[in-house]
């Protein structure tokens, strides 16, 4: 049975899963080199579910009245002239060190079964076959209470057993190894890929399938993952975007359809 072709994109599905997980008393920080999905998720939550959520953009406003998404996240923010205030270089340093924000979003060139992320090197770091973009801010995976992973390709090159280089620590070697290493923040709480939703099993901290997007099969997920996922007996279907969510996304947040046209998935 081939799953039905949905009338929304995989990126829109990812966005709504994240948006529903955010809380009204969160202090959100959005930014990073890839802004599309985090930007849309935070804006969707702010508009539909969390009117009091404080939003800090890395470039560099507090609670801006954001205009629609632009391909450039930094420009999207810059085009928005109204805000509660601005944040300085000092603020960014302090907020990062202190774990003041509630969450951040990360993607990566590799991620592994314990949620560790590589943005730097494929192969030996001294002479890598691929030099990735690097990370502006590692801190947001170390100090805040939680962080989210949003790989935009779900395949065996991206989902590996062990990353070649830990740019962003997840649960390190699993179990209580993150806690033992003295990392302050909680670690990755949720990973949403173009195929499914994943969390991390409480004790082992291994990645576990939580739900399967409407048009995807469990087999497809297993076949495209380079390590053994924890698969529950009856993995539910991911709740698709509601009409309200889609309307808000398409009319207000992403009218030019960036989320519908995104390259990626497998």
């Amino acid at each position: 049975m081939t799953p039905k072709q949905p009338d929304y994109s995989w990126a829109e599905q990812m966005v709504v899963v994240f948006a529903r997980d955010l809380k009204d008393d969160d202090v959100a920080m959005m930014g990073g080199a890839r802004h599309d999905i985090p930007f849309a998720a935070v804006m969707l939550a702010k508009n539909l579910y969390c009117p009091n959520m404080n939003v800090i953009t890395t470039g560099c406003y507090i609670n801006p009245t954001l205009t629609a998404m632009h391909y450039s996240g930094h420009t999207s923010v810059l085009y928005s002239k109204e805000a509660d205030g601005m944040i300085s270089g000092y603020d960014i340093f302090e907020v990062s060190e202190r774990g003041y924000i509630s969450f951040f979003f990360y993607h990566g060139i590799q991620l592994d079964k314990y949620g560790n992320v590589n943005l730097h090197f494929i192969g030996d770091w001294k002479k890598p076959t691929v030099r990735g973009p690097g990370a502006v801010n590692i801190s947001m995976s170390v100090t805040p209470p939680r962080h989210y992973l949003f790989p935009i390709r779900h395949n065996k090159r991206a989902f590996v057993d062990k990353v070649d280089f830990i740019t962003l620590p997840g649960y390190l070697d699993g179990g209580d190894s993150r806690k033992k290493a003295g990392l302050k923040g909680g670690g990755p709480c949720l990973c949403v890929s173009p195929l499914g939703v994943f969390d991390f099993e409480e004790k082992s901290k291994r990645m576990r399938l939580k739900s399967v997007h409407e048009w995807v099969t469990v087999k497809e997920i297993v076949d495209n993952t380079g390590f053994e996922l924890i698969i529950p007996e009856n993995a539910p279907a991911t709740k698709p975007p509601t009409p309200e969510e889609l309307r808000m996304l398409r009319e207000k947040i992403d009218p030019t359809g960036i989320l519908r046209g995104m390259a990626g998935r497998l």
């Binding site: 202090v27 508009n47 539909l48 579910y49 969390c50 009117p51 009091n52 404080n54 800090i56 406003y61 507090i62 609670n63 801006p64 009245t65 002239k81 109204e82 805000a83 509660d84 205030g85 601005m86 944040i87 340093f93 302090e94 060190e97 202190r98 774990g99 100090t143 302050k184 509601t242 309200e244 969510e245």
Partner: protein, 313 residues
């Protein structure tokens, strides 16, 4: 359901003096903003005194004044951490001096680097902050919050100051919107760092301005509402202290306070100071009642004009 959620408005953070007082309890660590006798949340200070709060630990700017001396005078204070506590050209802080000389309060002798360094440690999520600037001072020998250590790089020993994290910061800004986005007309001194280092922030302001005004010029916001627990609208709320560009300090009132304190402390007859406290601290029922007692609109207009003209009369 989702549209309902969407229709909820953003929560206002405006509160009354009474609301703000509900956040202040015995034995708390309270930090005041401002500097010398500038930008002090004086009316909140009087309200705390009137509530008969006890056992407070106080810090704030390295140069403190009226706010701490008054709370010491009413016996609300267990410990102060401060650099200079005085009234600049008007003289020393009488109640503070006497309390130290009698040993009735505990003091942690500090200065700018030890206090701000302590706040910065908290703000940066570290247990201490390195400073080098009090080497050679006897403060190193007597302060419990500093010590020399060998750093991981460099050969010279440096000083570590322990993180300071007040339970509540009480700041006075010139204006804020109802969400607590505060603007200062002039220098905020150390208010930003104090706000960041404190678990909660109470803000008193001379004026409430519209959120639209704030949003149109986000670069003017000094303390974002994000950090603020409550905003209390208190026109002339810094009196007898100065509120930058709004009104000067009430020199005559401060001189009267200092003189009465000195009289009471010297003579052992507490009547002059008691009279001051009764009239200005314990009896007033509101900021407006207080302002009437200190000269009302006529006096406030004069203090505003003096600030505007930049001279004393």
């Amino acid at each position: 359901m989702t549209l309902e959620a969407h229709s909820q408005p953003r929560k206002s953070k405006l509160g009354t003096v009474k609301d703000a007082l509900s956040l202040i309890h015995d034995n708390m660590y309270v930090a005041f903003g401002g500097h010398v006798y500038f930008n002090k949340a004086s009316h909140m200070v009087r309200a705390i005194a009137k509530k008969r709060v006890k056992g407070l630990t106080l810090s704030g700017s390295p140069y403190a004044s009226y706010e701490m001396d008054l709370l010491i005078a009413v016996g609300a204070v267990k410990k102060v951490m401060v650099g200079n506590l005085g009234f600049e050209y008007l003289g020393l802080a009488p109640n503070f001096r006497k309390a130290v000389q009698l040993g009735t309060i505990e003091t942690v002798v500090g200065d700018e680097s030890t206090l701000i360094g302590g706040y910065m440690a908290t703000v940066e999520g570290i247990p201490y902050h390195p400073i080098i600037s009090i080497k050679g001072s006897d403060i190193l020998k007597i302060s419990p919050i500093v010590k020399l250590y060998k750093p991981p790089w460099g050969n010279e020993e440096i000083v570590a100051v322990q993180a300071l994290s007040p339970d509540v910061a009480i700041l006075h800004a010139q204006e804020a919107d109802e969400y607590g986005n505060a603007r200062y007309k002039g220098q905020p001194y150390f208010d930003q760092i104090i706000a960041k280092a404190s678990k909660k922030v109470i803000l008193t302001v001379d004026e409430i301005i519209s959120h639209d005004k704030v949003a149109a010029e986000p670069e003017k916001t000094v303390i974002p509402g994000l950090m603020v627990e409550m905003v209390v609208h208190l026109p002339f709320g810094a009196h007898p202290c100065l509120s930058t560009r709004n009104y000067v300090h009430d020199e005559a009132h401060l001189k009267d306070y200092i003189q009465r304190s000195q009289q009471s402390l010297k003579a052992g007859d507490t009547a002059p100071l008691d009279e001051y406290l009764r009239k200005y601290v314990y009896e007033p029922e509101s900021i407006y009642d207080y302002l009437d007692r200190v000269g009302g609109l006529e006096r406030m207009t004069k203090l505003k004009m003096m600030m505007e003209l930049g001279r004393d009369s």
